[in-house]
């Protein structure tokens, strides 16, 4: 349509919903730079006091594990049930442990 070929980069947006909680991914948006990304994120994702702090990061700067790596990465934890407290059978008389 219009001649302008200025694809603004994609930013991923993370919002801390309240003090004491960690930032959580809420979605993404396009912006020319990080300042604009923050102000757009404010308008798009926090119109109802959903946040007290915003992080934005360029989507291309995120390194993600790939789904095909899932088994390699996460399966080894499968047979290590002793990492969970429920693995240990202890006498009922033992309280508060």
């Amino acid at each position: 349509m219009s001649a302008s070929k200025t694809d603004w980069p994609l930013w991923e947006v993370f919002v801390r919903s309240r003090q004491g909680l960690s930032h959580k991914h809420v979605g993404s948006l396009h912006a020319a730079d990080s300042t604009m990304a923050i102000s757009n994120a404010r308008d798009v994702y926090t119109r109802r006091q959903e946040g007290t702090s915003i992080w934005v990061i360029k989507a291309e700067d995120i390194t993600a594990s790939t789904p095909s790596n899932k088994d390699v990465l996460f399966d080894p934890a499968n047979d290590k049930v002793y990492r969970h407290p429920t693995f240990y059978d202890l006498p009922d008389e033992l309280k508060n442990m």
């Binding site: 302008s4 994609l10 979605g27 020319a32 730079d33 308008d43 798009v44 119109r47």
Partner: protein
């Protein structure tokens, strides 16, 4: 080949177990295409949907009403943006989607091709159009594609005020002077049938429904959702003393549902085909907004480039 089969099998398992499909997971091409079509159409509807209501922002009857309407229209812009982002995770660019909208290749909900003639239309849109949209959207919160489902959760949270503010406008008008009550009734008369059409063609003639239900993109059929909408809305109209413009409408004690008259699908087809009262105006307005904003986008990009350039020179100098 076997790997392909494994992937497809895993996909089918995920669907069967109600597990979400995420952006980087393997998915069949047809699933991806269906989602791109549906999510981008949905995004376009939110964006075009700002126009009929935007028409009344400067003429709202009070400052309070004006603030409410502004907030609602701004929400719709937000909905469009959440949905465009969700569609982008499937590998289509924002520009491609906008081009498709601007050139008329992509569709959007046909309801937004009707004009908003009076203030009561703001009431009817909130009450009926947002009401029907909520009916469609709530099941989408459980759709099998993760990014779409998450976007819909946000959208649905915001929608409920839209419907309530619309109903309140209708309530106030119906308690007003006889002219105001007539205005409310007239708006209901004009918006009722197009609202029923928002659920799409009846199940018998709906092209994409079956496959979408199998993929758990869609959870209920068009006719099921339409029936729910009628059942919900008729008592609301009664409550404020307005009459649904359908002489066939009657309560069926046995089924526990309202029966309603036949929908004029030829009107629907005409509007979808581009011949509704406002199709051209909507697209022209949208294209003009995009083109008139080009210099802003260019300037912002040029500025960002300049700042990045300056920063990189500073680091290399240091």
């Amino acid at each position: 080949m076997t790997q392909q089969m494994d992937l497809n099998q895993r996909f089918e398992e995920y669907i069967a177990l109600d597990q979400k499909i995420e952006a980087k997971d393997w998915m069949p091409d047809a699933y991806r295409k269906t989602l791109i079509r549906q999510i981008s159409q949905h995004a376009h509807s939110e964006i075009i949907g700002m126009q009929p209501e935007g028409n009344w922002i400067t003429r709202a009857p009070s400052l309070k009403r004006k603030s409410i309407l502004l907030a609602k229209v701004q929400d719709e812009a937000g909905h469009g943006l959440y949905l465009y982002s969700a569609a982008e995770t499937l590998g289509i660019s924002r520009d491609e989607m906008l081009d498709a909208l601007h050139t008329g290749k992509a569709k959007y909900s046909s309801i937004f091709n009707y004009p908003t003639l009076t203030w009561a239309d703001m009431g009817s849109i909130g009450w009926l159009v947002d009401g029907a949209a909520i009916m469609n959207q709530v099941p989408l919160c459980k759709c099998s594609y993760g990014p779409y489902a998450r976007a819909m959760v946000r959208v649905c949270k915001e929608e409920s005020f839209h419907q309530r503010q619309g109903f309140q406008i209708m309530l106030n008008l119906s308690q007003g002077t006889s002219e105001q009550k007539d205005m409310a009734q007239d708006a209901l008369n004009r918006w009722w049938w197009p609202s029923l059409m928002m659920f799409g063609p009846s199940d018998a003639s709906s092209k994409h429904s079956k496959q979408s239900m199998r993929w758990k993109i869609k959870r209920f059929s068009n006719d099921e959702l339409r029936q729910r909408f009628v059942d919900m809305t008729v008592p609301q109209a009664e409550l404020i003393g307005l009459t649904i413009p359908d002489s066939d409408l009657k309560w069926n004690e046995e089924t526990g549902h309202y029966e309603f008259g036949p929908i004029d699908w030829s009107e629907f087809e005409q509007v979808v085909a581009g011949n509704g009262p406002c199709n051209r105006e909507r697209i022209e307005t949208r294209v003009a907004a995009h083109e008139n904003g080009a210099w802003v986008r260019d300037a912002a990009a040029a500025y960002a480039e300049k700042v990045a350039d300056r920063e990189s020179r500073q680091t290399s100098a240091a």
